[in-house]
């Protein structure tokens, strides 16, 4: 590139537009060429205020720590003890979020069950129903009750250890789903009672109830059918957490699953993922506040999801008042999704390791988000389960390390006072002081 003209006058350096960046321009060119919006999997990729913007203070003279590897720091959690005869007892507060058979292969679902069970936690079905492999390999299985009711039947409902009524998910609050025809194998089609090869739309609203008053009756029906034995969770997206949690409690939920915008989906419009919903960091305190205002904090459990990746994230979620977390995308990565070993094949698909998100196309080189029999063979559910167990154990050890450093003998004893924020935004959202101050935006006196 010439930097100077023939008369010796320097050129102005080429300047890329922040507004019309190369990424944005490629979106425009793709839209112009196809006439259709971009569909992808995963959660929000944009940078949002997150748990990375929080730090733990640790112990000092005013608080003393617990000895690592010597003094106990418990991690167990009971979910659904308020109404259910058989609440769920978990060894660790990290659960596996709902992901469908259809979006994921049968062996991938099996691996999630194997890994979760080995680590002492629960896994969750998804749109499309419960598979025998998943039930068989999951010691504690949460059955999602979704608007589409694909594969929904009372026999499976009664086999579940808990029922999760899905109202929304963080990647697409207010949106339904679409499983494109190329992933509709014979088995997926049979489970969903639809022809093979057609796009399967998942509704955004439940077909037989609308609003919180109806939800209360729906919960009553599900309890009657299952003999009041199992907990009923209600899953909501991080849209209006204070009001949604309040209404879910009013409707009789035993636990609330709250999903921020970093939470993944099998497939939806990119514009939906990136522009609807709130970051996980922003939704936890209003949800906890709602439970506290109703006198239900720690009685009705709050399970937070959306971009949870490490024991530090777990500890921060719990310090802000969550009882447990759920992981989805992180679990897939632990299984082998977006692994560098498949880089050449990602390149063939026009992407690269870490960026592969066309899960809906069913061509996953790692054999996880596919129904292609040849690709599925690449994935070993026993090895996948082992990897997930290891990952869950590491996350738990990390969270315990932090909790002990804060002087806590149970992860539930972590509290907002253990945290500071690195940014004004994070301070405002988490309602913890900006580091080096005793203030956060919105706090009275300023």
């Amino acid at each position: 590139m010439k930097t100077i003209d023939d008369k010796g006058i320097p050129h102005t350096s080429p300047r890329q537009s922040a507004t019309f960046s190369n990424d944005i321009n490629s979106d425009i060119r793709r839209a112009a060429a196809t006439g259709i919006y971009d569909i992808r999997g995963g959660g929000a990729k944009r940078k949002v205020p997150s748990f990375d913007d929080l730090l733990f203070l640790g112990a000092s003279i005013s608080r003393y720590p617990l000895e690592g590897y010597r003094e106990k720091c418990d991690t167990n959690v009971t979910i659904g003890g308020l109404h259910a005869k058989n609440p769920i007892e978990l060894d660790i507060p990290i659960t596996i979020a709902g992901m469908s058979f259809g979006a994921l292969s049968g062996p991938a679902k099996e691996a999630l069950g194997r890994g979760a069970s080995a680590a002492g936690t629960s896994t969750t079905t998804g749109d499309g129903g419960m598979t025998p492999e998943e039930r068989g390999h999951s010691s504690k299985l949460v059955y999602q009750y979704l608007p589409s009711r694909y594969g929904m039947n009372p026999n499976d409902l009664r086999k579940a250890d808990a029922i999760e009524i899905v109202v929304g998910q963080g990647a697409k609050p207010g949106g339904g789903g679409m499983l494109l025809g190329q992933k509709i194998s014979d088995r997926v089609a049979e489970m969903r009672n639809l022809p093979k090869g057609i796009d399967q739309r998942s509704a955004c609203r439940h077909p037989d109830w609308t609003g919180p008053d109806d939800l209360e009756i729906k919960i009553l029906e599900l309890r009657e059918i299952t003999g009041w034995k199992v907990p009923i969770y209600v899953k909501v997206a991080g849209a209006r957490p204070y009001y949604d949690v309040t209404l879910a409690v009013k409707a009789g939920a035993d636990a609330i699953v709250l999903d921020g915008m970093q939470g993944g989906t099998a497939a939806t419009q990119d514009v939906f993922i990136e522009h609807v919903g709130q970051p996980t960091l922003a939704i936890v305190r209003p949800a906890v506040q709602a439970l506290q205002d109703l006198g239900m904090h720690r009685k009705i459990q709050l399970i937070l999801s959306g971009g949870i990746r490490s024991g530090a994230d777990v500890a921060k979620a719990m310090a802000l008042g969550a009882d447990a977390v759920a992981i989805g995308t992180a679990a897939l990565i632990a299984l082998g999704d977006n692994d560098p070993r498949w880089e050449a094949e990602y390149n063939e698909l026009g992407t690269t390791t870490g960026a592969y998100d066309d899960w809906h196309e069913g061509r996953d080189p790692a054999g996880i988000t596919t129904q292609d029999p040849e690709l599925m063979k690449r994935f070993d559910p026993i090895e996948g389960g082992r990897r997930l167990k290891n990952y869950l154990k590491v996350m738990t050890l990390e969270a315990q390390t932090i909790a002990r450093a804060c002087g806590k003998n149970h992860l539930h004893n972590l509290e907002p006072e253990d945290l500071v924020a690195l940014t004004m935004e994070a301070a405002a959202m988490a309602k913890v002081p900006l580091a080096g101050t005793d203030w956060y935006p919105g706090k009275s006196g300023f």
Binding site: R149, N193, P207, W209
Partner: protein
């Protein structure tokens, strides 16, 4: 005949008693008195028993029914026989919204009228309505048969899949991707069977069949205006 009076017995005890009936129970006939619009009556049944409800019911009566026959001697609230798997539910009066929603099997007979969204997302159930049905009925209906002896409201069969819709009277409007279809001999035979089972004396030849035009089965941007 076993009788349970909901004025004296709570809903939990009622349903627990009905759920406790085994496949080979001798106590096959049950009568429920004073339902007074209670919700979730006789939901989740899974035995070949016959339950008669003397009065009107609230939401989700006979929800997720398997094997049982439930007779409602009154009208039914929203979501009657929702997600029914098998068996038979007969309503002497009218049914509110979402009757037979997502049902997989069995027969739902409504001798009066059904409100909106009758047969929404139905997945194999047969529904026979002696009267009229409301708007958005058979929305996203996947499979099974919806038979309407009266008229249908707006947007019948919107975005339906392989369900068959038979209407004897007028259809106010058809929903997206729903079209009139040819009545072939097998449809006449099917209707004859369903109408007989539903104790309806309408003639199969009087019905028009509707179903999916299958134009929206795979996403095409040129169809975007249809949604």
């Amino acid at each position: 005949m076993q009788k349970i009076d909901l004025q004296d017995t709570g809903l939990r005890d009622l349903n627990a008693t009905l759920h406790a009936q085994a496949d080979n129970t001798n106590q096959t006939a049950w009568e429920i008195e004073n339902p007074k619009g209670a919700h979730a009556i006789a939901c989740g049944l899974d035995a070949p028993i016959e339950v008669t409800v003397r009065g009107s019911t609230g939401y989700y009566c006979a929800g997720m029914n398997q094997q049982a026959t439930v007779n409602i001697k009154g009208s039914a609230g929203p979501g009657v026989a929702e997600n029914m798997m098998s068996g038979k539910v007969v309503i002497d009066g009218d049914a509110s919204q979402y009757a037979g929603a997502t049902g997989h099997g069995g027969l739902l007979v409504i001798k009066g009228n059904a409100s909106s969204r009758c047969g929404i997302s139905m997945k194999g159930i047969n529904i026979v309505v002696h009267g009229n049905i409301g708007h958005m009925s058979a929305f996203m209906a996947q499979s099974g048969n919806l038979v309407v002896c009266g008229d249908a409201g707006d947007a019948l069969g919107d975005s339906c899949y392989e369900a068959r819709l038979f209407v004897r009277g007028e259809v106010k409007s058809l929903g997206a991707d729903c079209e009139k279809k040819e009545m072939r001999p097998e449809h006449i035979a099917l209707l004859k069977e369903l109408l007989a089972e539903a104790e309806c004396d309408a003639k199969p030849e009087e019905f028009t069949r509707y179903g999916s035009a299958r134009n929206l089965y795979n996403f095409d941007v040129d169809n975007a205006a249809a949604y």
